[in-house]
C-alpha cells in the first residue's frame, strides 16, 4: 500500500468510528446544553444499546425470511433498540438526576458514576463478563478503489446516522418540543416563567439523547462484531471529548467533534502505534481548547453580573 492509500484507508475507518462517536456525543451535548449536567452514565446507555440490539436480533431473527426480510428487520432492530434506550434514559433521569435538580452541581455527577457502575454490572450479570459475538446483520460486501476498501456496512452506518441526525434537526428546529429545548438552553429561568414545563423538557432531552446513543451502540456492534460490558466507558470518554471539542451544548459541534476525534484516532493508529492513538486524540483536544476554549463551534459565554 502506498502512503496515500494508507492515508485514505485510515480516513475512511476513522470516519465510520467518528460517526459512531458523534451519535453518542449528541446526547452529551444536548443534556449539557439544557441541564448543565455532564451525564457520565451516557456511555453505558450506548453499551446497553449494543446488547439490546443483539438481544432483539436473536429474538426476531426467526421471523425474517431471506434477504428481502433484512430491509424490514434491520430498521426494526434499530427502532426497538432506540425505544428501549429511551426508556432507560428516562428512567435514569427520573430516579438519579431529577431529585437533584437543586442540589450542588457535583451531586448528579456522583449519581451518574453510580448509575454507570450499576448498568455495567447489571449487563455483566445478565450476559456474562466475556466478549459477546455480534453477528453480521447484513451480508458484507467490500468495494475497493485501488488498495483502499470500504464496505456496504460503513455506508449503511453513515446513511443511518445522517437520517437520524436529520430527524433530530427537524425535531429541534421545527417542533414545539424542540423550541422548548432551545428556550431552556438559552435561559432556564426565563423559559420556566414563560410556562415551559422544564422537567418534562429535560426528560424529553434524555429520551432523545439516549435513543441516539442506543442507535450508536447498535452501529458499534454491527461494525466491530464483538461487544463487551466495558465498551461504554472508553467510547463514552471519547464522545464526551468530541462534544467538548465541538463546543459543548452545540449540536452541529458534536457531529464535527465526533468525526474529528474518529479521524484523528484513525490517522494516529495508522501512522503512530495503536497505543499512542489515544494520546494523539487527547493532545489535539488540549491544544484546541487552549487556543479556542469554547470548542470549535461553541460561542463564548459572556459572564453577566
Amino acid at each position: 500500500m502506498s502512503a496515500l492509500d494508507i492515508f485514505f484507508q485510515q480516513i475512511i475507518n476513522g470516519l465510520t468510528l467518528g460517526i459512531i462517536y458523534a451519535m453518542i456525543a449528541l446526547g452529551y451535548t444536548m443534556v449539557y446544553g439544557i441541564a448543565q449536567l455532564i451525564n457520565f452514565a451516557h456511555g453505558e446507555i450506548f453499551m446497553v444499546g449494543a446488547y439490546l440490539g443483539l438481544t432483539i436480533y436473536l429474538a426476531i431473527q426467526g421471523f425474517a425470511f431471506g434477504p428481502a426480510g433484512l430491509v424490514i428487520l434491520v430498521p426494526l432492530i434499530f427502532i426497538f433498540t432506540m425505544l428501549g434506550c429511551s426508556a432507560l434514559g428516562a428512567l435514569v433521569e427520573q430516579t438519579a438526576y431529577r431529585p437533584l435538580h437543586n442540589a450542588p452541581r457535583l451531586a448528579p455527577l456522583i449519581t451518574a458514576i453510580g448509575v454507570s457502575f450499576l448498568l455495567q454490572n447489571a449487563v455483566m450479570l445478565l450476559y456474562g463478563p466475556q466478549d459477546k459475538y455480534f453477528p453480521n446483520l447484513i451480508p458484507i460486501h467490500r468495494f475497493s478503489f485501488g488498495a483502499v476498501t470500504f464496505t456496504n456496512l460503513q455506508m449503511i452506518i453513515a446513511a443511518a446516522a445522517l437520517i437520524l441526525m436529520g430527524l433530530l434537526n427537524l425535531v429541534i428546529m421545527h417542533t414545539r418540543t424542540g423550541k422548548a429545548m432551545r428556550a431552556l438552553a438559552e435561559d432556564r429561568q426565563a423559559a420556566y416563567l414563560m410556562g415551559i414545563p422544564v422537567n418534562r423538557v429535560i426528560t424529553q432531552t434524555f429520551v432523545i439523547g439516549s435513543a441516539m446513543a442506543g442507535a450508536g451502540g447498535l452501529m458499534f456492534g454491527m461494525y466491530y462484531n464483538t461487544i463487551n460490558f466495558h465498551d461504554g466507558y472508553l467510547a463514552g470518554l471519547k464522545a464526551f471529548t468530541a462534544a467538548v471539542l465541538g463546543g459543548i451544548g452545540n449540536i452541529p459541534g458534536a457531529l464535527i467533534g465526533g468525526i474529528l476525534i474518529g479521524v484523528l484516532e484513525g490517522l494516529g493508529a495508522g501512522y503512530l502505534s495503536s497505543e499512542w492513538k489515544n494520546v494523539f486524540a487527547f493532545f489535539i483536544l488540549i491544544l484546541i481548547l487552549l487556543f479556542r476554549p469554547q470548542g470549535l463551534l461553541g460561542t463564548r459565554v459572556v459572564k453577566k453580573l
Binding site: 464526551f240 488540549i286 481548547l289
Partner: protein, 330 residues
Amino acid sequence: MKSKAARRRKILKVLRPYRPFLWLVLAISIPFLDSNPYHIDVMASAGIFVLLALGLNVIVGYAGILNLGFAAFFAVGAYAYALLNLHWNIPFWPGLIFSAFTGSLFGVLLATPAIRLSGDYLAIVTLGAGEIVRIALNNLDPLTGGPNGLLGIDHPTLPFMAYDFGVNSEPYYFLTLALITVVIFFMRRIENSRLGRAWGALREDELVAGFMGIDPIWAKLSAFALGGFVAGLAGSLFAAKQGSVSPDSFDFILSVMVLAMVVLGGLGNIYGVILGAVLLSILPEFLRGFEIYRMLLFGLSMILVMLFRPQGLLGDLYQSGEFSTRGGKQ
C-alpha cells in the same frame, strides 16, 4: 440541681476541641484491637485514599476546580520515587519529599497553560492529561517498564534502628496515619489563611474575587501545587508499600473514585472527605459477601447516599457558587 443529661452535655462540650485527638487515638488503636493482617492492609490502603482525597479536596473543594485526572498526580508521585530508588538508590524518606515536590511541579505544569479555561473545559483538560500520563507510562518502555511497570522498589527503613518496613501492612498503616495527621494540621491552617479565604472567594464568584484584589491565576496555581504535593506523598507511599508500580493502578476509574470520595463525604470539609474516602475504600470489602453483586450494590449505594445527602455526608459549606445549586448561577 443539675440533671444527668446536662452534665453529660457539659462533658461533651469540654471534650469538643479534643475530638480530633480522640479520633487519632481510635485510629492508632485499631491494629491493636483487630490484628487480622488483611483488615490492617485494607485500612492502610484506605489511608492512602484518604491522603489522595485530601489532596483533591484542595483543588475541587477549596478552589472549586473540577479535576477529572487526579490519578495522574498520584502516578507522577509513585513513579518519581520508583525511578529515583531504582536508578540512584535514593532511600524512601528523601524520595517521599522529592515525590511530593514532583507532584507539585506536575500540578503547576499542567495548570499553567490550562488555568485560563473555565469550569468544565478545565475539567476536560485534566481528564485528557490524566489519560496521556497513563498511556505514556504504558508505552515509554525503556524508562517506565511499559505495561509491566517497575519492580523491586525498596520498602522504607527506619534510620538508626535497622527496622525494615518490609511487606507487613502495620508499619505502613502507622506511617500513613502520621502523614494524614500532618496533612490535616496544615490543611486546617491553610483553610483559614489568606490563601484559603482567597480560594473560598474564587469558588463563590471569580469576578468579584478579582475585584477584591485576589489574583485568580496565582490562587488556582497554588491549589494545583498543593493538591499535587499531597498526591505525590500518597504516590510514593503507595509505591513503597507495593514494592512495584504499573500504569494499570492509575486509570480514569481511580480519578473518578477519588472525586466520588470527596463529593460523597462533603466538598471542602476535611472530616467529610476522610469519611468518604474510608467508606468508599472499605465498602467493597464489606460487600464481598455478595460476590458478583458487589459492584452493583456499590453503585447503588453511591446513588442512594447522593439522593439523600446531596451536599455530601458531612457537607454543609456550600450555599452558593460554582458547585452549588444551578439555579443560583442564573
